[in-house]
Subunit: 335 residues, 2 copies
């Protein structure tokens, strides 16, 4: 039985979609048990009894707009998110899923769950949409503004394990996001990381990848530092949102277009869905000594359900141990 | 009379769209004279006599795939692009327009035209599409991987002058691209640049802007270093291209969608056009001691025509002198 802790109060619309997504996951997967931490009174209207669901009444929780997660952590360790992480630390559960503020989850993860012994940094790794609908792992999407080449190499090892075991890619490739495809392009960080990835026998290195191929590339893992990958991710998001608005404006501009759009209704819905990362799951916090999934802040039931599914798959695939083994092997070789 | 030098052989499809765009510009604007540098034999089939057009036979030119522009410059200064730049240096013309390789134009610009005395770096500044169709200036889009805050501040001064005089924005705002909106977000470069821009009386500072607002923001100028802004630009390009492909795939997926798309033909065409930067013009090389416009490598007639229009407007607005005055004033104040 896989045990998952859910932060019932994280997310813009919590607790409704969190509770509903949790119940849907329990319905769908009969090999999971869930402990949900949250305000019993607020969750009450949406909760149903389930023999694999435990509710831990936790009246305190983080506000979504919270700007200073370190202070929050110091002030009150009884917040729903931190209690879920504590359960993971204490091995009461195998994974945590939260739609709460990313930085708080990163801070809480560091202080409570702690890093894997051989990982020096923790990355945020969302699965982003792709033309072939299979998704791509993009990291570090925002946890570390300053990274060294070795940190990026360790992330590449971790992400390769996830791509193989969870996303079921055979021999997954890792691309370095860069301003040009030739070796030697980019900043010193990129030049050095290129060399390290190219020389590593455990990594199937794709080479440099320009973000103009980001939606159509064959590469499975897209790698850069936490500033750059975050900017790229947000530029994708902004462009997709902007183009959706333009399309709507153009459709509304004439009667005949509106008729056309009605006939295209199913296609336009599929178009919209293909950009929707919540179809695939949340972001993985890579580097913690346990499985922690950050569901999107604006998660609906289905998005949160997918975050739980992803956590379950990570535990089933024994990702943490596989990554530990890969990193240990690497350390032995380098000595 | 405004004099413009055109590199007749630059661009993926040169010389045809270059010559045709040049003739269209001469037709449209009666206050310009154009000197076109290129292979007379190759340009011949598309050339027409025009009393404000001079053809300078220049059989040598850069290949678009050229990887080592510095070597090219050292080897042969008689290439069409470099002869056009030389004409600008010698004050025979007021501006240069080329669709040739960007890095060659940057290198040629540095060595031949030289920098404005008070500009320490040269930025690439394209005008990118926006929801309101007016475009935004994005810089530095790829000339400098390493920049200091003062360089970014100087670019902001330059871009503000262009936004005001050429794009006709009243009191244009400059946004710093960043991973969060609060002051203090980002790398050291971003934190220091934020302070400098905020304190500058000549710059109407918008604050930090996350790229998820890139298509819809009110800000007129979007600023970052040459690595980041290039990545953001390419992520926009990749997302727009990818989404276009998804839309096509969805339309083709059913008969009824195809009918719908036929009815929406005009809307879909407008949708596509709204993403097309060639509607607005080329990229400006900011910091050279003269107006140099880099038209898109895949320019068609209309895109190249727009590059010429943009060069003409830059000269009409006396941008180089206005920027020099602003930077001189700043230098005096800082002493």
């Amino acid at each position: 039985m896989i045990k998952i802790a859910v932060d019932g109060m994280g997310g813009d619309f919590a607790p409704e979609p969190i509770v509903k997504g949790t119940l849907a996951a329990l319905e769908k997967f009969d090999n999971i048990e869930i402990t949900i931490f949250g305000d019993q009174e607020k969750m009450g209207p949406f909760l149903k009894k389930h023999d694999r669901l435990t509710v831990v009444h936790t009246p305190d929780y983080l506000e979504m707009g919270e700007k200073d997660p370190i202070k929050q952590y110091r002030t009150n360790k009884e917040l729903s998110m931190f209690k879920a992480l504590k359960a993971l630390k204490d091995k009461e559960v195998d994974a945590v899923v939260s739609a709460g503020p990313t930085q708080a989850l990163v801070v809480g993860g560091h202080f409570i769950v702690r890093r894997m012994p051989l990982m020096k940094r923790v990355a945020i790794a969302p699965i982003i949409p792709s033309y072939d609908k299979r998704g791509r792992i993009l990291l570090d999407s925002g946890a570390n503004v300053d990274l060294r080449p070795e940190h990026l190499r360790d992330f590449a090892v971790y992400a390769s394990v996830v791509a193989k075991t969870v996303l079921k890619r055979e021999n997954p490739t890792v691309a370095l996001l860069n301003i040009g495809t030739e070796e030697g392009k980019g900043r010193e960080l990129d030049v050095e990381t290129f060399k390290l990835l190219k020389a590593d026998p455990e990594i199937n290195f794709y080479g440099n990848l320009e973000p103009k191929e980001i939606f159509t590339t064959e590469a499975d893992v897209l790698l850069s530092d936490g500033f750059t990958a975050n900017m790229v991710m947000k530029a994708m998001e902004g462009t997709a949102k902007g183009l959706g608005m333009v399309l709507k404006r153009e459709i509304k501009s004439s009667f005949i277009s509106k008729i056309g759009a009605l006939l295209m209704k199913k296609s336009l819905k599929n178009f919209k869905r293909s950009l929707d990362a919540s179809e695939i799951g949340g972001a993985l916090l890579m580097g913690l000594d346990g499985v922690v999934i950050k569901a999107h802040g604006s998660s609906n039931d289905f998005a949160f359900f997918n975050g739980i599914r992803q956590a379950k798959e990570m535990v089933e695939a024994d990702v943490i141990n596989k990554v530990s083994e890969a990193l240990e092997k690497k350390e032995v070789e380098e000595k």
